[in-house]
Symmetry: C2
Subunit: 430 residues, 2 copies
């Protein structure tokens, strides 16, 4: 029986929005936003889209008009009453009122600022400029829109039945991955796949699959909207943009060397327990830990987001031991380009030595590799980063030079200040 009313209603849509809520974003963005709102509210930043997989001609694949419609739709969004209630009333990481009233009031009145979109060759230049706490909230929805529009362009040419089989194949693949993870003991794994997901509905499906398939081993999702609707934990702490912007604001080399620790000092004041997670790789993990103040060794864990993950985890464990800390009481969170094989391998490798968790991203929520001709739905490496702060360019070194960004002379300066030498070059898939 056709539900005529639903069908007519669907026909009335001007667009099919990709992002339908301001909290269809990563939880750590909101935590960082609150921190920025408190500590650096007047910073002017620019964020810019960077397609690291240049062989994907985004501007050829995605219609500019459709892209503008989606971005304009995001600018029309504001926090709904239910979303606000959830943010104000929910317990995050065991803490009530994680978001303070002044921040919530600001967030409730927020609309995302203007964007600048221009075609450059076969790529889009997409930039956002303005106050840091506002601009930073563009990152996740902008990435999700571009990823999904590229997917839609491919799906547009497929028949109804072909689509059904495509999703059946993708579902089977996700489920088989989950079944392999079921036997890993112990295991704690969260969805970190919002930014480069195939689509919102698909991410939502993946979260439900993890929930049903892994039970308590599934610790939650980074996506606030899905966390709210599916009643699972919202997961995430902080990201590279904090040290990148703090560093860009430094007046001299001495201030630059201090900047990454200042970020964590501000964080230390605001958060405790499982929210005290060090992200050490922005300017090289080894140097960052060698020069870290002792209070940082008391933090709960470290997130590994670039370079060889086992090497970085070993550095962290050695560092804790050198500071008189027991790695068995610590947590290592892996979050860089994970898939099942790597998750199982790392889990086995560090079992008994420390507590291990995983933030599983793109290869959870967008593994459509090999499912259509020319691999036209395979995920690729798209990022949206802070490129300047108060007029100064930002720099990221990372533990993998393939992930470095910033002007060449500034990269050299940062390498000198942070004592970064030769680095292992690793291919960046997603």
């Amino acid at each position: 029986m056709v539900d005529i009313a639903t069908r007519v209603y669907n026909h009335k849509w001007k667009i099919d929005p990709i992002v339908r809520s301001l909290i269809d974003t990563d939880f750590y963005k909101l935590l960082m936003c609150q921190s920025v709102f408190r500590n650096k509210p007047d910073t002017e930043v620019a964020f810019s889209l960077i397609n690291r997989t240049t062989r994907i001609p985004l501007a050829d694949l995605i219609d500019e008009g459709e892209l503008r419609e989606q971005l304009d739709h995001i600018r029309s969004l504001s926090l709904s009453r239910g979303e606000s209630t959830w943010l104000r009333g929910n317990t995050f990481y065991g803490k009530r009122q994680m978001f303070r009233p002044d921040f919530m009031e600001w967030f409730e009145n927020l609309r995302l600022p203007a964007y600048h979109l221009e075609r450059r060759g076969d790529q889009y230049e997409l930039t956002f400029e303005g106050s840091w706490p506002e601009v930073m909230l563009w990152e996740i929805p902008a990435l999700a829109v571009l990823m999904e529009l590229r997917g839609r362009a491919v799906l547009d040419g497929m028949g109804r039945f072909e689509l059904q089989v495509l999703y059946a194949q993708a579902m089977t693949r996700v489920w088989e991955k989950i079944e392999r993870l079921r036997d890993v003991e112990p295991l704690g794994i969260a969805d970190f796949g919002t930014r480069r997901r195939h689509s919102f509905l698909w991410q939502d499906w993946c979260v439900q699959a993890m929930l049903e398939g892994l039970g308590k081993k599934f610790t939650g999702t980074s996506n606030c909207l899905i966390a709210m609707r599916r009643e699972v934990e919202a997961i995430g702490t902080n990201a590279h943009e904090l040290p990148m912007v703090y560093a860009a604001l430094a007046q001299d080399d001495a201030a630059l060397a201090r900047a990454p620790y200042e970020v964590l000092s501000d964080w230390h004041e605001e958060h405790e327990g499982n929210l005290r997670i060090i992200l050490p790789d922005t300017y090289g993990t080894q140097g960052f830990l060698d020069n870290a103040p002792d209070w940082l060794a008391g933090w709960t864990g470290i997130r590994i987001d670039s370079g060889d993950p086992a090497t970085a985890a070993r550095i962290a464990i050695d560092w804790w031991q050198s500071r008189g800390e027991d790695p068995k009481q610590k947590r290592v969170i892996f979050s860089d380009g994970l898939d099942v094989d790597k998750i199982i391998e790392l889990s086995r490798q560090f079992a008994g030595e420390t507590n291990v968790s995983f933030g599983w991203g793109t290869l959870l929520t967008n593994d459509f590799r090999g499912l259509v001709p020319d691999d036209a739905l395979a995920p690729f490496s798209l990022v949206c980063k802070a490129v300047s702060a108060n007029g100064h360019p930002t720099v990221k070194l990372s533990d993998n030079p393939e992930k470095a960004m910033g002007p060449a002379d500034e990269i050299d300066r940062y390498k000198r200040v942070f004592g970064v030498g030769d680095q292992q070059r690793l291919e960046v898939l997603v």
Copy 2:
């Protein structure tokens, strides 16, 4: 948006019927029914359900009340106006008015006769007795009901999400099979999977997958209802029940030896072209062909339904050559326990020697092997056969003694009359 009316309507169902139409059956049943209606209308037969996979305790798995409800529902069915129009007006195998007016009138007034159901240990005894043209129409729906009820009993314990993944896996499996068949050249393949299908909806899905995935290489379905709704060819000719009943009616050994040829003589009068397909294995392929009258060598093809298929095809090709016929002008139809590997192998083996077609059955429409614990959805070997005619037991020898049936002394007599010696024993999976 929930369609409340649909949901309320669904809640009102007393049962969810498995068979909803008298033409949800194999096309060859209707062709044979018309032949029987014309040539042997007064024969009294008994059909009986036989579960050849005795380790599956059907009576423990399937509730007797539910089984009765489904069988009673089938007895309430009659030909709908649209179904009748389709049978009367459609072109089958290039021929209009395949079904004669007197047969159609009889069919339009038909209700299926009573059944006898009794539990025996962990199996059901299910028998149908009465006039041959009526009783024979029970075979396919009875099998489909038992197969689907067994599946429903397993699915009943599964969650909504688990079900979705199950069907995604099964869809992916079917689609991967179809993709492998896509490259086989030439190929002609039909769905023969009604009787042991997972469910009606699933068979319908498989047919659509074949249609979209194989295009013209998909020649049609044996299921009349699906052929009508999906506007594809209805496929099928005749089956073992004709020679089995004709043989049982034979008064002496000489008449018995003639019986299988009498069947085809009656068929010869009624049909031509692609409907003239010999099913030679009821009492041994080699002997049947050795003793066949010359006019039979003029028929279009042979269907191979037991024993080693390549061996039987070789026998057929040699036989045609010995009768001065060109095998390149003939057709060999394989229909026994096929899956993709075997289809590709046979297709390659006989390419250029003769025309090859495939009737793909249970492993198209019910390949749920390995998808649930204890393999509880794996198909098994369930048949519903004519066991007596006018009080005489029927016998089938087949080219595989695992498929033989009938009283032991009668089997010995038939073997003597038809000159069947040692036979290769092959496992019957489905």
